[in-house]
């Protein structure tokens, strides 16, 4: 076994060990060391994620899956880590967002609480573990790791607002975790296995009565995932919680709601895709489709109704989740591919928007309020330190252009990748052979989806325009905020990545389509996971 085989484990081990090291480093005095360690670990994670992505895509046409048997137990008995295109993509996405959020936080926000860096690394560990694991119960454990870290991060900076929404967030997620457990144990009771690949083998062979129990378990599991993803009516907690979180944390959270979507794609398509689903193929796809459409509707109304930008961003998260879910609900391969493209695009754009909006609002009273609250809670020393770092010139122009880019991306207008994503979704939805082959897409649903996608884009555009006018043009007297390079750089970086996505839309789309093809025909995945040989004992 060469060292590159162990690379698969690094996205979990590296954050774990750096978090432990930070805990050992101790209290507030060592913050610079912790920040440096955090930065090094996150940059290393980014490189590892790129390497993993290349490994997953080494064979452009095939569906090669890398499997790591933990403690060398063979597949259905031990816990396995599995790397395929989808998990590699998600790990890379979380590393990119993590780096952007961290750079932003280094300017000032990491000083607003004591254990920011430790929690940050643990959050990344939970995210990566959830993306890489091939075991249902292990998925639960990693969900709990990432949730526990997110509880701490959400409360970072303290203040009544964060504590109140944090209370709701924790209560909702604890209840969802219980549903998760119920679903997992029901599935185990029926099939006798927790390995996802093995589940996919055993599920179609079940009798009629057991099948009912399996579907009940899958439905409970689905509810737990959809609470995380924020589907209507399970997502009321999301906009206030994300709005109350400190900006770097909110940016990192923009991938948190996508974890629910990821888990749903993974488990749902393994168990209930057409080739492996048997009698219950595409079970629940109507719920996804119509639930997604309702989520888009609810999110669009929320976007129009929200008065401040943080809430607007929260409802945009709901719109993007709803779009992905609705598109997935049609159950067709090429449509899933374009939904994945949209997922990457909207996650990056929302991350950039969450970082940007605090910079924009810094000149206004609303932003000042938030800082004042933190100041009150944490004493003066956190923020009266002299500002270090280089401020950028022409602040308003830079902020304005970044804001326009965010608006274009979220609304899905040309020339940026938001348009490419929406265009791809609509085209694949209406392709004649696509429509005929899509098992759950009648012309009516395709038209409803088209209306929802285009309509939500319009709503987001209206709301963003209004917010932009109110912020950039309307104020007669406003203080121009002081923005440091390290704060605006992550925003520009994320938006630049979206521009890169636009330019390289062809290769990226090829990757997404390969991912979707593998997801909709999970035989290769299942076979490779279950056939992974144990490592032979090395004899001297």
């Amino acid at each position: 076994m060469s060292w590159t085989d162990h690379l698969l484990l690094m996205p979990v081990l590296l954050p774990l060990f750096s978090a432990v090291a930070m805990l050992l480093l101790g209290g507030e005095k060592r913050r610079p060391q912790k920040a440096a360690l955090n930065l090094i670990a996150t940059v290393a994670l980014l490189f590892i994620a790129v390497a993993l992505l290349r490994q997953a895509d080494a064979d452009p046409d095939g569906a090669r899956v890398s499997v790591y048997l933990l403690a060398n137990w063979p597949a259905p008995f031990g816990i396995v880590f599995v790397l395929d295109r989808l998990s590699a993509l998600m790990v890379l996405l979380s590393a990119v967002l993590g780096l952007a959020a961290l750079l932003y936080a280094l300017a000032r926000w990491h000083r607003a609480g004591s254990h920011f860096h430790t929690l940050f690394q643990l959050q990344l560990m939970g995210l990566n573990g959830a993306f890489l694991t091939g075991d249902l119960f292990n998925l639960f454990v990693f969900f709990e790791v990432l949730l526990a870290a997110s509880y701490g991060l959400l409360l970072h900076g303290s203040g009544p607002d964060r504590v109140r929404t944090g209370l709701h967030y924790i209560a909702v997620n604890l209840a969802a975790s219980l549903l998760f457990l119920l679903g997992v144990s029901l599935m185990y009771a029926v099939t006798g296995t927790l390995n996802m690949a093995d589940l996919a083998v055993r599920a179609p062979a079940l009798g009629k009565e057991d099948r009912m129990l399996l579907e009940a378990g899958a439905a409970l599991l689905g509810i737990a995932f959809l609470v995380k993803a924020g589907m209507w009516p399970l997502g009321f907690w999301l906009p206030p919680a994300y709005a109350a979180a400190s900006p770097p944390v909110a940016a990192l959270f923009s991938i948190m709601s996508k974890v629910g979507v990821y888990a749903l794609i993974r488990v749902w398509l393994l168990l209930f895709s057409e080739p492996t689903g048997g009698d219950s193929a595409l079970f629940g796809s109507n719920w996804l489709l119509w639930g997604g459409v309702l989520t888009i509707f609810y999110g669009s109304m929320g976007v129009l109704a929200s008065q401040d930008m943080a809430r607007l961003a929260g409802y945009s998260v709901l719109v993007s989740t709803g779009t992905i879910l609705a598109i997935l609900g049609t159950g067709h391969t090429s449509v899933t591919g374009s939904a994945l493209f949209y997922l990457v695009n909207s996650t990056l754009a929302l991350g950039a928007f969450y970082l940007l909006l605090e910079l924009v609002e810094r000149g206004r009273t609303a932003g000042a309020d938030m800082l004042a609250v933190t100041l009150e809670a944490f004493g003066d020393d956190a923020f009266t330190e002299k500002e270090v770092g280089v401020a950028i010139p022409a602040v308003m122009a830079v902020l304005g252009i970044a804001f326009v880019c965010c608006g274009l991306l979220l609304a899905g207008l040309p020339p940026l990748s938001g348009f490419v994503a929406k265009f791809a979704m609509v085209t694949t939805l209406f392709e004649p052979e696509g429509l005929a082959a899509a098992p759950n897409a009648t012309p009516t649903t395709a038209w409803v989806l088209l209306a929802a996608i285009v309509g939500s884009g319009l709503m987001v555009l209206v709301a963003m325009t209004r917010a932009g006018i109110r912020t950039f043009w309307a104020p007669i007297q406003r203080t121009v905020p002081r923005v440091q390079v390290i704060e605006i750089a992550p925003v520009i970086g994320l938006l630049g990545l979206c521009a890169v996505l636009t330019v390289y839309a062809g290769p990226v789309m090829r990757y997404m389509q390969a991912t979707a093809t593998a997801l909709h025909a999970p035989h290769d995945y299942v076979r490779q996971v279950l056939a992974e040989p144990q490592v032979k004992e090395r004899r001297p």
Binding site: V141, A148, L155, P160, A171, S185, Y188
Partner: protein, 114 residues
């Protein structure tokens, strides 16, 4: 025995759901605890409810699965208990912080207007 366990799970779940829908934070936390007890019992029961059966194979004994209970749900239950305990403790801390900030134990941070 199945009946007793099933009724226990049902009662715990019912009380838990009623409590988490109540407006006081303390009621919510007790409700979540009751729900997690119910879920733990449920997981435990998926490994068959049998008395006097070991979950671990004995040395030189027959490898007949009907003589044993499934050990895996017991391991799952242990993990679930530990995680549930930790998250409930964390929730308790947030609950106290909310009480300190808002001066009330209402989940919305303010008393409803009468």
């Amino acid at each position: 025995m199945e009946m007793i366990v099933a009724i226990a799970i049902g009662v715990l779940t019912g009380s838990g759901i009623w409590l988490i829908l109540r407006p006081r934070t303390f009621q919510v936390i007790i409700g979540l605890s009751l729900l997690s007890y119910a879920v733990n019992l449920f997981i435990f029961s998926t490994g068959r409810l049998r008395i006097g059966m070991p979950p671990v194979l004995e040395v030189a004994a027959k490898g007949d699965p009907s003589l044993y209970v499934d050990p895996l749900p017991q391991a799952l239950v242990l993990t679930a208990i530990v995680i549930g305990f930790a998250t409930t403790a964390l929730f308790l801390v947030v609950l106290l912080a909310a009480r300190g900030f808002t001066g009330t134990d209402h989940v919305d941070g303010r008393e409803p207007e009468t």
